[in-house]
Symmetry: C2
Subunit: 258 residues, 2 copies
C-alpha cells in the first residue's frame, strides 16, 4: 500500500495513470477543477451556494501549483493519474501531465469525492452495490436546479445506491456526518420525483440492480460542478479524468463532523 | 414576539434600533459584511479557508439588496437595527439605514453568529455565564493565525464561556453540530496556550468569573472576519454595529448537521 505522497510521486513519475479507486485507502481523494482567475469568483460562489454537490476541500492561491492545505509538497500539474483539457466546453485532450498547459493565472479547486463516504458506509457494514459489482456508480441528471452564481447555472446531478429502508436511513445518518464529501442524501424513493425517467438508464456510469424491498437512495454528485462548468463554455478549463482523482493527505475520518 | 420578517420591517421603519439579542428567538441572526466587488473574491476565499470564525450563511449577488436565500423579501440596506460605516479601516459613521451609502457593486456577506449555538447550549441545560450576568461575551485576540487569502490575514479572535470539564465536553459536542455558527471549540484549558495573557482582561466584551473547578472554553468568534477585514484598510466597508445583527428566517435548529 502506498501512502498519499507516494501515490502522488508515482503519478509524477508517470508510473500511475489508472483509475485511482483503492489508491491510499483511508485518505480523501478529490475532484479537480482548474480555471483562469477571471472565472474563479463565480465558481467559488457557486460552490458556496451548492455545498452538497460542490464541497470544497481546498482552493489554491492564484498560480500556486502546490496544494498546501490538503497535500503539502504536491504539484497539481503532475500528481494526478490523468487530466482532461477543455476549450470552450469541448474536450480537446486527455493527458497525464499539464505542465505544458499551466498558466500563472490558474486557480485550482479541490472538491470532496464520494469515495470517502463510501468507505464510511462500508466501515458501518453497509454494502455498496456498484463496488460489489465492480462497476461505476449510476448517476442521473435531475430536475432540481442548483442555486446559480454568475455565469454558472444548471441542474443537480445525483449518484444512486440502493438499500432496504432501514439501511437507507442508516446510510443517511452516516453520510450526514460527512458534509465535506456530499453529506446526507438529497432524495430517497421515487426517481420520478426528481425528474429521473428510468432509474435503469443512468446518464453517467453504470446501471445497478434495485432488488425487491430496496429503495434507490440519491446523493448529490461531484459530476454536478463539472457539468455546470462546461455548460457555460469557459475558454479554458482542466479537470481530472473521470475516476482519476487527486489523492490528498486528509484522512477520510477527519472529514466527519461532530 | 415578532417574527423575523416583522423584526426586519420594524427596523426598516426605524422603530427598532437596539441590540438584537432576543429578537425573534429560535431564528439565526447574522453578522454583516458589505464590500465592493473588487474585494469580494479575497473575502469569500478567506471565509472558505477559515470556516470556524467565518461561517457563511449567504453571499449576495453583486448589487442585490435582498437576501433571497435566508430572508426573502428583506432589504439589507434598512433591515438591521444599526450599521457601521468604515473608510480605509476607520469607523466614520454609525447609522440605522445605509441607503445613502449603497452602490451597485456591493456584495453582502452574512455570517453565522454565536447567538444560535448559545440557544442550543441553553436548550441542552448548559448555562451561558455572560447571558446570566447580562453582559457581553468575553472575546480575546489569540496567537493562532488564520489561513490568509489575498489581502486578508490576521489572527483568530475567540469568545470564552466557562464550564466544568464534563459540561465543557458536552458543550463541545453540542456546538460541533452547528458548523455554520462557529462549530466546536478551538481550545479549552490554559489561555496562555493560545496567546491570551490574562483571561480576566478580554480584548472585546466583558470579563466573566471562572469559578473553581471550571475551565475556560474558547470558540472561534465572528469578530475575526471584521478585525481581519478592517486591518487591511479597504477603501469602503459596512458592517453591523456590535450586537445589532440581521435577523434571518433560518431556524437555528435547521443549521444542525446530522
Amino acid at each position: 500500500m502506498l501512502t498519499p505522497s507516494e501515490v502522488r510521486a508515482e503519478c509524477r513519475r508517470g508510473n500511475l495513470t489508472t483509475n485511482s479507486a483503492g489508491y491510499a485507502p483511508g485518505y480523501a481523494q478529490a475532484n479537480l477543477v482548474i480555471l483562469p482567475k477571471e472565472h474563479a469568483y463565480d465558481f467559488l460562489l457557486f460552490c458556496q451556494r451548492n455545498p452538497k454537490p460542490c464541497p470544497l476541500l481546498e482552493v489554491s492561491d492564484v498560480g500556486c501549483a502546490e496544494m498546501k492545505r490538503t497535500a503539502p509538497g504536491s504539484d497539481i500539474r503532475t500528481d494526478l493519474p490523468k487530466y482532461r483539457i477543455y476549450e470552450h466546453g469541448q474536450l480537446t485532450a486527455e493527458v497525464t501531465d499539464i505542465r505544458d498547459y499551466w498558466k500563472d493565472d490558474f486557480v485550482t479547486f479541490l472538491l470532496g469525492c464520494s469515495f470517502s463516504f463510501e468507505g464510511a458506509l462500508e466501515n458501518a457494514g453497509l454494502r455498496v452495490r456498484h463496488l460489489e459489482k465492480k462497476c461505476n456508480v449510476p448517476m442521473y441528471r435531475t430536475n432540481i436546479p442548483c442555486d446559480p452564481a454568475g455565469v454558472f447555472s444548471g441542474n443537480l446531478v445525483v449518484s444512486m445506491r440502493p438499500y432496504k429502508p432501514a439501511d437507507a436511513i442508516k446510510a443517511a445518518m452516516i453520510t450526514g456526518r460527512y458534509p465535506n464529501v456530499h453529506g446526507s442524501p438529497v432524495h430517497m424513493g421515487s426517481p420520478a420525483d426528481i425528474g429521473i425517467a428510468d432509474v435503469n438508464k443512468p446518464d453517467y456510469g453504470d446501471a445497478v440492480t434495485i432488488r425487491d424491498g430496496e429503495v434507490p437512495v440519491f446523493w448529490a454528485c461531484g459530476v454536478t460542478p463539472q457539468a455546470v462548468l462546461l455548460a457555460s463554455r469557459p475558454a479554458f478549463a482542466i479537470t481530472h479524468a473521470p475516476g482519476h482523482m487527486f489523492v490528498t493527505d486528509v484522512p477520510n475520518e477527519s472529514l466527519a463532523c461532530a
